[in-house]
């Protein structure tokens, strides 16, 4: 009972501190890192009229937008060597740039041509934003663009890089920014204090190239929130305050799409898709489905269904109780971007810039509408206050129902 009261008090305190948290989209795949926009109602009939605004961006970027209150943040990189780092703040209503800050990369900037230095998506705790780059530069700014701290993890750990590029996006859990910096030559994860920028903990990770991002296992009455670190070896649950390993799933996992948490269960891109349910320092394996195998986009789980996208642009839906594949829907083109779910619809963007709104039904998926934005889109979108935000190679775009 004491724990329940304490938990309730903490939630009440959090709500009192920041009533807008629910409407924000604070990190890669949203606040809970599960690609679900809770309570959002986004446009379902996409057309030119649903393009609320389109704002030019500097350089290039695969990073997705994050939204905090009335501000949208996105990172970019520019220059011949992709060594100029940009953090751009845009007004969510008007699309006008509020501020832009630039920095110089301190780590290696080489990436595959398809990627660029600004591949990881930013994160925020509502008071500050955290921009991370392939060069392993981790930058904290306040909401006005004032530099709070700068960690050159690329220069501090010069062998922790990948010539194809790094893509892991940070997550914020409590007062810790959790980052994974994993390559063949050197690999670690660390928790960085959100306020000071100092390292709280650092743990060695499997030395292998890894492009996945940390996920968040929300707090329960029995356990504080945990960071979920995925690699080719499996999935490791870590206390974000101390770096202490709580449990290890060791059946291997993908190094590109990341695990997704829903209703206390974790869906891991492992041997297709594997679901586990953690409890304290243990976990129970629920099912495995070789027929649900995500390519680059991470799985999306909502309302008892898991949705995965393969290399050919086929969206598959599986039952999260059994792992059984229920239906498949072929969309057009290739997908790098993880779809998001909102208001009973799935929103997906292919690499050539076509947006799809899919209505998932019991036995099939139906494309409700699509809109060709005609620009390369490799990032995962964000959603907040009725707006669907996506970045192309050139623009930050807001889709919303016309006012």
């Amino acid at each position: 009972m004491k724990r329940i009261i304490l938990g309730t008090s903490v939630l009440a305190a959090l709500a009192a501190c920041d009533s807008s948290f629910g409407a924000d989209w604070r990190q890669f795949r949203g606040n809970a890192a599960n690609s679900v926009a809770v309570g959002e109602s986004l446009p379902t009939e996409l057309s030119g009229e649903t393009i609320a605004w389109k704002t030019p961006l500097p350089g290039r970027g695969l990073s997705g937008p994050i939204i905090v209150g009335d501000k949208v943040f996105v990172s970019s990189s520019s220059g011949y060597g992709q060594d100029r780092l940009h953090v751009v703040c845009v007004n969510a209503d008007s699309g006008e740039q509020v501020w832009q800050r630039q920095f110089d990369a301190t780590g290696r900037t080489m990436t595959h041509d398809k990627m660029c230095n600004a591949t990881p998506t930013m994160a925020s705790d509502g008071e500050r934003v955290y921009a991370f780059f392939s060069s392993n530069d981790l930058i904290c700014l306040d909401m006005q663009g004032k530099l709070q701290w700068f960690r050159g993890l690329g220069s501090e750990f010069p062998n922790a890089s990948n010539s194809l590029g790094m893509s892991s996006s940070p997550v914020v859990i409590g007062s810790t920014v959790v980052v994974q910096v994993e390559s063949d030559a050197e690999a670690f994860a660390c928790g960085v204090d959100t306020v000071s920028g100092e390292t709280k903990w650092q743990i060695e990770r499997p030395r292998a190239a890894n492009w996945t991002s940390p996920s968040v296992l929300p707090a329960t009455n029995d356990q504080p929130a945990l960071a979920l670190l995925q690699s080719s070896k499996g999935l490791t649950a870590v206390d974000p305050e101390t770096g202490k390993i709580v449990w290890n799933f060791e059946k291997g996992a993908s190094t590109i799409p990341s695990a997704t948490v829903s209703d206390g269960a974790i869906v891991i891109p492992s041997n297709g898709l594997t679901a586990i349910r953690p409890s304290g320092e243990k976990f129970e394996e629920l099912w495995n489905s070789a027929g649900l195998s995500p390519a680059t986009p991470s799985p999306v789980v909502i309302d008892g269904m898991a949705y995965v996208m393969n290399n050919a642009g086929v969206l598959s839906a599986g039952n999260t109780s059994t792992g059984e594949r229920v239906w498949q829907l072929r969309l057009k083109g290739s997908f790098s971007s993880t779809p998001i779910a909102a208001g009973g619809y799935i929103y997906a963007f292919n690499e050539s810039g076509t947006a799809f709104v899919v209505k998932p039904e019991a036995d099939k998926g139906v494309v409700i509408s699509e809109l060709d934005l005609a620009e390369t889109i490799l990032c995962s979108p964000g959603a907040s206050n009725g707006g669907l935000y996506v970045r192309s190679d050139q623009h930050l775009i807001k889709l919303a129902n016309p006012k």
């Binding site: 630039q102 004032k146 530099l147 960690r151 990948n162």
Partner: protein
């Protein structure tokens, strides 16, 4: 906490208290804030103090002082100073104060200042008046800033592209004299060769083309990366390379052999020029004669795991296989001594079977921080490798 760390924090706190509380001149405050930012160390230490220093500078209007602070500062400090400069510009604009155009132009023209700061000053002016590009960029062809050079070269390429062949050649040649980026050099070289001109791209970039190579040594299961075979231990002892001596290799006795690459970009292709021994490693050595003690960058491109020694000292190692390869993939700062400098490279191939995992090669050049070639003095090097102007 270490004693020096404690001392440093006390010192920073003292500077901060003194800076913001005492009756001092604004110039002293600015100078102290800049010094404080210059002293920031990696690891997230003292960031609160740095933030206060930026706040102090933001309202100072001291653009030039902050820009001058970039010179000699660490990359971390440069990022703090850049943020301070941007905040000053934001504050000045908010107060409708004009930019100090002439002072900024003077700063941009001073090539002894930090290339990053000069570029920042330039872009700040350009945001206000795009005409500054036409005014300043043509004189930037041999600038210490690669970004300025790139703009100047691009301008010349455009000019040459629009000219007749005979008139274009000298313009392309002029462009080539300042080009430090691969894409521009490729474009210029292609145009010049089309016009019948000879272009030595190897020399332009400073690629080392003549090597002594020995191997294969065993790297099955990638275990050889950590094994110090005899060429490596010999190098570590700074002993000269002896081309007549045989060593025990992976497949029998091996000895040093001369290998030359004719590739424009200095790629020495072990797989093609020797053999793609799977699960093996090779050593490649060359000498580089310097006319003085100097700091340079050794820039390496290879898809294979590697270690690099300069004059017997291991300067970097990286155990990564087949994650792409490109010119200037790795930039290793190196101190060269006057006279002969011996470079030894260990290149490791693994046993991956995929088509994209068969490359066994490297390209290596010596340049300055802008990417401009630094050439050795003409000489006949040791190890039967002739060197000099043709490198």
């Amino acid at each position: 906490m270490r004693a020096d760390c404690v001392y440093r924090r006390v010192l920073l706190s003292a500077i901060l208290v003194f800076t913001f509380t005492s009756e001092r001149s604004r110039a002293d405050d600015v100078a102290d804030s800049i010094k404080l930012l210059q002293s920031i160390e990696p690891g997230g230490k003292d960031t609160g103090v740095a933030r206060k220093a930026v706040d102090s500078l933001a309202s100072s209007g001291a653009m030039l002082s902050v820009l001058k602070g970039f010179k000699g500062s660490s990359p971390l400090a440069v990022n703090w100073l850049r943020n301070a400069f941007e905040e000053i510009v934001t504050a000045e604009k908010a107060a409708s104060k004009p930019l100090p155009v002439e002072e900024l132009k003077g700063f941009i023209a001073d090539r002894s200042e930090s290339p990053i700061a000069r570029r920042l000053a330039y872009e700040t002016l350009r945001d206000q008046d795009a005409a500054i590009e036409a005014e300043l960029i043509p004189d930037m062809l041999l600038d210490p800033s690669p970004e300025f050079r790139r703009d100047a070269v691009a301008k010349l390429i455009n000019e040459a592209s629009a000219a007749e062949a005979a008139a274009a050649t000298p313009i392309y040649q002029k462009a080539m004299s300042g080009a430090v980026h691969e894409d521009q050099v490729k474009q210029i070289a292609e145009a010049l060769r089309k016009n019948g001109e000879t272009v030595n791209i190897q020399k332009h970039f400073g690629f080392l083309s003549q090597w002594m190579v020995i191997g294969p040594f065993d790297n099955k299961e990638e275990k050889g990366f950590a094994v110090a075979y005899t060429p490596e231990t010999t190098a570590a002892e700074s002993k000269p390379l002896d081309p007549t001596v045989e060593y025990d290799g992976q497949l029998g006795k091996v000895k040093w052999q001369a290998v030359v690459t004719e590739d424009d970009y200095g790629v020495l292709d072990i797989a093609k020029q020797i053999q793609n021994y799977k699960g093996s490693l090779m050593y490649a050595s060359t000498s580089w004669k310097s006319d003085r003690d100097q700091n340079v960058e050794v820039r390496l491109g290879t898809p294979n795991a590697w270690k690099l020694w300069v004059n017997g000292k291991l300067v970097f190692e990286r155990e990564e296989y087949h994650r792409s390869s490109a010119m200037d993939q790795y930039k290793v700062p190196v101190s060269l001594k006057a006279g002969e400098n011996i470079l030894l490279l260990k290149v490791c191939q693994n046993e991956q079977t995929q088509d994209w995992a068969q490359k066994y090669q490297f390209q290596l050049r010596v340049c300055d921080s802008t990417g401009s070639a630094v050439l050795p003095v003409s000489t006949t090097a040791k190890n039967d490798v002739s060197s000099g102007e043709n490198r």
